[in-house]
Symmetry: C2
Subunit: 384 residues, 2 copies
């Protein structure tokens, strides 16, 4: 096991009816900016429920944080928050709204150009405290301290993290996910699945607990993902999915083990240039990545084949191939296509993706930092 530091101060309020409890988590007298996305939280009544819980506070609203939240939009929220002297933020939505709210929280008191937080990794001394009400299980943003923000003007999709951007609290009410469109549910399952594999499908590090926890999350996603689509109002299924997605990226399973994240980095460029959903990029790239990196990931791929897919017959190469194929079929079974061509993207698009990777310095990716530009190109080609 590698040395690690683990600290996660986010308070989780899990279960039906927990939105009512948020008023106790916010400092008395706070001026609260509620941030949300495209209006589904208005339609479903979740926003009204939140506002009712906030009746003792001065509340402002900022709507319109888009999927893959943009710097341009978030800067408007930052202006509003500074103008109105906001001292607490409450994100109501999925990972994009929470990610965007982390950036707002960090940028409000930031004295320089907020873009430097993303582009130059500028140090963040403090952030406005914030909470979240999660409506879409997927990214884990509700219990971690990183965020991804896009800039339309330059086709950038960049991440930042800081110890000061953990949510103070997050409400996880599975019943708030009943009305999600199937595509978002499926995307969430794929996203959580690949969050786990980025921390699990690397090389052995004598970390038995982390491995078994990762496997527990994968098995739960495989069991509950399809059921979530078939039985959208099954509370138990949604509860398992929601908690799994949070645990997939809250620091726990990644503590003390090598991490990869190359699939995510290559995926960000696909979203930036072609607008694919984040999870679609992962579904396309993971099977290709595992093929390209099968030698360095060999031992963990065999463990994955055994413990996740029950593959114990045949030679090692065949089991690895089958495990990758099962992974692809799982994504396809959720109606998330796994080939670039399924999204109308041909091989002629690859050179522009490579240029983006180089521009963003993504030239030594993976747990061994040995996924260079040439091998990244192989991944895109294998995903064709």
């Amino acid at each position: 096991m590698q040395n690690f530091t683990l600290h996660n101060p986010t308070r989780i309020l899990f279960g039906q009816g927990r939105i009512a409890d948020i008023s106790r988590e916010i400092p008395t007298g706070a001026r609260v900016l509620v941030t949300y996305g495209g209006g589904s939280v208005v339609k479903t009544g979740t926003l009204a429920e939140v506002k009712s819980a906030l009746k003792d506070f001065t509340v402002f609203e900022f709507a319109g944080i888009e999927p893959n939240p943009t710097y341009e939009t978030l800067m408007q929220a930052i202006e509003l928050a500074r103008r109105e002297q906001i001292d607490f933020l409450l994100a109501v939505g999925g990972g994009s709204v929470i990610d965007g709210t982390k950036f707002i929280a960090a940028a409000i008191p930031f004295s320089g150009d907020p873009w430097d937080i993303l582009a130059k990794g500028a140090a963040i001394e403090r952030a406005i405290p914030f909470g979240s009400v999660l409506t879409l299980p997927a990214t884990g943003s509700e219990m971690n301290n990183f965020a991804v923000v896009s800039r339309r003007a330059s086709s950038d999709k960049l991440a930042f993290s800081s110890p000061v951007v953990f949510p103070l609290f997050s409400v996880l009410d599975p019943s708030k996910t009943f009305t999600l469109p199937p595509r978002q549910v499926a995307n969430g399952v794929v996203d959580a699945f690949v969050h786990v594999t980025e921390q699990y499908l690397t090389y052995p590090a004598d970390a038995k607990v982390q491995d078994r926890f990762a496997e527990g999350l994968l098995l739960t996603l495989i069991e509950e993902g399809p059921r979530a689509l078939q039985e959208p109002e099954n509370y138990a299924v949604r509860a398992n999915l929601m908690w799994t997605a949070t645990l997939a990226l809250n620091g726990l399973i990644g503590a003390g083990v090598p991490q990869d994240w190359a699939t995510h980095m290559l995926g960000h460029e696909l979203t930036a240039l072609h607008g694919l959903d984040h999870a679609q990029t992962l579904a396309v790239l993971l099977p290709a990545m595992l093929q390209v990196c099968r030698e360095e990931k060999r031992e963990k791929l065999l463990q994955y084949a055994d413990r996740i897919w029950g593959l114990r017959e045949g030679n090692a190469e065949a089991r690895i191939n089958q495990a990758i194929e099962h992974t692809r079929q799982f994504f396809e079974s959720l109606q998330v296509p796994t080939r670039l061509s399924d999204y109308g993207i041909g091989t002629e698009a690859i050179s522009a993706l490579m240029a983006q990777l180089e521009r963003h310095g993504m030239v030594a990716l993976g747990e061994h930092q040995d996924l260079d530009i040439a091998r990244s190109q192989q991944v895109y080609e294998m995903a064709a």
Copy 2:
């Protein structure tokens, strides 16, 4: 899944050499009281390493916190701390030292009689901040907010918990456990194992992740426990054991599921009256408890038989019996005897144990609160 609130602010510093990092975790200028036990941390050099890391602080020491820390001893530390205006505590040792330090931390600023914290569950408003350097993986106290304290004068062994007694940080350096006596290593494995079963062997609650995490911990203990005894300086084994013991009782696997804890409650009385090690009481009582409660625990016992012990043949009753027998054999394989008679305790001792249970109000235990005095007596009798 049941509704739950989960919040664990303890910062874990895991790995070799991490004691050197504690000075960054303690407020500058703090007057630090280092608490420890019987001197093994002196012999092994761990205390010297801690003091070297604290060279920029004003440091006091309090030695002599015993296994099953006593109120009488801890009151001396509280007097010292008040007299010397201590504003930070650092526990160096195992669960007893950390539990004792939690009580010291809560009692220092407590205005009433500190005994009320234990005996009357008096509310604790605040506590002196404290950290820990763990030398014995077992209790999970390094990452949770409860503690058990004994009072010699009255043969009481009582617990308390509070949101203000989470350690600020805990150092988990597996190499500091190499020199532990085999009995303490074995006790730690049994203790962690039963911490898991108290949160797992109850009734199904549609909590797939919690179940799989619990199973991952049990499987790791079964694999690594015997190896820890055979290869005391195997770092990987000790690392897995140490992290497993912490995760067994840090709130994670118990969130959203029913919990039992009857084995612990009955065990406390065995320690109070007969001086058995805490883990010895658990090894004696768990197999008996599972037999007495096999009907209400039936579904989870069958899952346990399948997923932990691979028992898939024969009828359900036989599989449950085998699973309980495997559990007993596992404890015995660690040289922890599993019968009261192995400790020289005969059935004539049971009536005094029952009187203690009644005196402590332990008359409706277990996940269904249906383990009454008569059934507790059955457990003691079955453990004879």
